[in-house]
């Protein structure tokens, strides 16, 4: 399968891990389209949006590879097995691309005509979405099979942002959904849904999110061969006009979701000991 990855930046660990995992399984990464992190316009926009404090934090954490004790480290420890390369790790899509010999294109907008033209040149069977813009139809029409996303919630119940947190607060099982992206927000046809059995053992919301991302990559890797063989069927989502879409969660509620996570963990531990 010829695979392309869409990434929110060239330094996205998720995108790097996704490409590496697919390559390990024998698929052929043919390109990666990443949003520019150093583009002057993008930086200015982010500065305007976030103010100098948040911007400085962003620059410190996102624009430079993470260092720990003088060595490159990974932010999501559950991706380390995929990102490891001998004694080091892949720190950017450029490094992954150099190793697996594919092209990385940096753009300001993944839907822009020049981005679409580049994607068409790569002629992918599948595009994997690791982050970036809301995708428009011209881009969605490029791959032979479609654009795949591992959504961090069970669709159609948990659509939108902050999905793991909303799942916890609403007592909905935490999980992921592998689905095709369409023009709506998490409204595309569903290929597979997986509850995440380890949710109750997570130590924090960050820990849960990190594990879900790694879990999602593994499940995409399982789905792609079935997609190639045509042995997996897609399920259209129901009429979503009256279904909820969740939005970014306020920190006060997020703290309560974290409490719920800890409580779930305690009850699991108590059951195990009881």
């Amino acid at each position: 399968m010829r695979i392309v990855v869409l990434s929110p930046s060239a330094y996205s660990e998720t995108a790097c891990a996704m490409v590496v995992r697919m390559a390990e399984l024998g698929h052929v990464p043919v390109g990666a389209l990443a949003l520019s992190a150093l583009d002057r316009g993008t930086l200015l926009r982010k500065f305007r949006q976030w103010g100098w404090q948040d911007f400085t934090h962003y620059a410190r954490t996102k624009l430079s590879p993470l260092q720990k004790d003088g060595q490159a480290a990974v932010r999501n420890p559950y991706l380390r097995p995929m990102l490891s390369r001998g004694n080091g790790i892949f720190r950017s899509l450029h490094e992954v691309a150099a190793f697996y010999r594919f092209a990385v294109a940096i753009c300001r907008d993944q839907n822009a005509p020049e981005s679409i033209a580049r994607l068409k040149e790569w002629s992918p069977d599948v595009i994997l979405f690791a982050g970036g813009n809301i995708l428009r139809k011209p881009l969605l029409d490029v791959p032979r099979l479609g654009v795949l996303n591992a959504h961090l919630g069970l669709l159609p119940e948990v659509r939108g942002m902050s999905s793991p947190e909303w799942s916890l607060l609403n007592n909905v099982p935490v999980g992921i959904t592998i689905h095709f992206i369409d023009e709506g927000i998490d409204t595309g046809p569903i290929l597979r849904k997986y509850e995440f059995p380890e949710a109750a053992s997570c130590e924090s919301l960050d820990d849960l999110r990190n594990r879900l991302i790694a879990f999602g990559i593994e499940k995409i890797a399982e789905v792609i061969p079935a997609l190639d063989r045509g042995t997996i069927s897609e399920t259209a989502q129901p009429d979503l006009d009256c279904d909820p879409q969740f939005f970014v969660m306020h920190e006060w509620l997020k703290q309560r979701a974290a409490v719920r996570l800890v409580n779930n963990r305690r009850s699991v531990v108590a059951t195990a000991h009881g």
Binding site: Q49, N170, N171, P244, V248, H250, W252, L253, R256, V259
Partner: protein
């Protein structure tokens, strides 16, 4: 003193009134009388210009608490207490051009419950005293018919349905707090006048209504009647008030469109400001709750969800709308925003749907960032009519009803947070 720029809250406006431009010019002469206001005016204009130029709303706007709610609530109440005139009434607004307006009976009426809520939440004696003083002033204004007058104090002697309904909110609450029979008598007289003035179809139109027309935002009047019925029910036969409330509620609900839009705001010469849309929703919701009419709650929830999605997606709510919530406008009506926070918080309380709570928390964060923490009385703790301050709704003014609704939203937020934590992050299904 003039009451200036086109303002549907200003019931003194009629066909003989000067044009909007003339009014604005007259108001601008306020600066000649008090040039010391020039500094704060320029400061506010510059700060809003900087904010709209350099700040861009984004996905993560308003998800973190940058100012404690209690601090901002104290500022809002300070603004209201500063705005209380020696007669006991609350000024309608503080204009950056002309200073405080005269006392405004309508707003004074519905600020009374806010003062009691604040006093209860913080044990603040000043708020309690201010509520009692305001109530006494209102009682002195009641007409022999039971009605209350329109407009700013001393301007008009014409009775007004909407103002009487809004003042009734204050009287009902004052009676609940003090058990004073004189307050109950005044409330019942006001209620009886409203029942007499109601049209057979359940609306209020004609001489007591603004521009003589029927308006769906008069659901606020229906809510007041439903409250009166509920509170006074153990002392007298109050079924007529509940019936009138229900009749109006049913009339209002016939104006809810499939898109969620509410027709019949019906203000000639003014756009459909969010303030009035939110009034229609708030009145229908609270009336529906008191009368146990679930269909009203469902209709309001549907409309409120449309506005919630707009706010979550665009990070602001336009200040005025055309039909079906279309809006080309870029200013925002802060009072309407605060009212929507109240509606979303109440919908969370009623339905347990956390999406409403989440949106209200973010709306309150947005509003908190716009409350001045420094400045002279009239500015510090004030809620401007529009953001930016030169926007179409109540330009260049800090308005008392903005402070009232935002204080209501913060008090409600605090109460719901406490009850949420008291249930130990209980089981809450998503009901949207």
């Amino acid at each position: 003193m003039t009451n200036a720029v086109a303002d549907p809250k200003d019931r003194s406006k009629d066909n003989t009134a000067p044009t909007v431009v003339a009014k604005a010019l007259i108001e601008a002469t306020g600066l000649l009388r008090a040039p010391q206001r020039l500094g704060p005016l320029i400061q506010k204009l510059v700060s809003d210009k900087v904010r709209v130029t350099f700040e861009q709303r984004h996905l993560y706007s308003y998800v973190t608490t940058k100012r404690p709610s209690a601090e901002v609530l104290n500022l809002l109440l300070r603004w209201i207490l500063d705005a209380q005139r020696p007669d006991g009434g609350i000024a309608a607004y503080y204009s950056l051009l002309t200073g405080y307006s005269e006392s405004y009976p309508e707003v004074t009426g519905y600020i009374v419950p806010t003062l009691y809520d604040f006093a209860r939440a913080t044990e603040d004696r000043k708020a309690l005293a201010a509520a009692e003083k305001a109530t006494n002033w209102l009682l002195s204004l009641q007409m022999p018919t039971g009605a209350f007058p329109r407009g700013l104090h001393g301007r008009e002697a014409q009775p007004s349905v909407f103002n009487t309904g809004q003042i009734l909110h204050g009287l009902v609450r004052a009676y609940a707090e003090t058990n004073h029979p004189g307050v109950l008598s005044a409330a019942v007289a006001a209620g009886d006048w409203l029942v007499d003035m109601q049209q057979p179809d359940g609306s209020w139109s004609g001489s007591g209504a603004y521009q003589n027309a029927a308006h769906t935002y008069y659901s606020m009047v229906a809510w007041a009647l439903a409250e009166l019925s509920e509170r006074a029910g153990d002392r007298l036969d109050s079924s007529r008030f509940a019936l009138a409330a229900e009749k109006n509620l049913d009339w209002v609900l016939t104006h809810f469109r499939p898109s969620g839009w509410v027709d019949g705001i019906n203000l000639q010469g003014h756009p459909n400001y969010l303030h009035f849309v939110a009034y229609a929703l708030q009145g229908a919701l609270e009336c529906g709750v008191l009368l146990r009419r679930n269909y009203a709650v469902e209709a309001v929830a549907k409309s409120s969800w449309v506005l919630l999605r707009k706010f979550e997606t665009n990070k602001y709510l336009p200040g005025a709308y055309e039909r079906d919530f279309k809006s080309p406008l870029r200013f925002t009506c802060l009072t309407g925003n605060a009212q929507m926070a109240c509606v979303w918080l109440r919908l969370f309380e009623i339905t347990d749907d956390l999406c409403y709570f989440n949106a209200a928390l973010k709306m309150n964060e947005m509003l908190k960032q716009l409350i001045p923490s420094r400045g002279r009385p009239g500015i510090v703790g004030g809620v401007s009519g529009s953001f930016p301050v030169w926007g179409q709704y109540q330009p260049l003014r800090y308005i008392s009803w903005g402070c009232k609704f935002f204080a209501d939203a913060l008090i409600l937020e605090q109460r719901l947070k406490q009850s949420f934590d008291a249930t130990a992050v209980g089981i809450l299904p998503c009901a949207s």
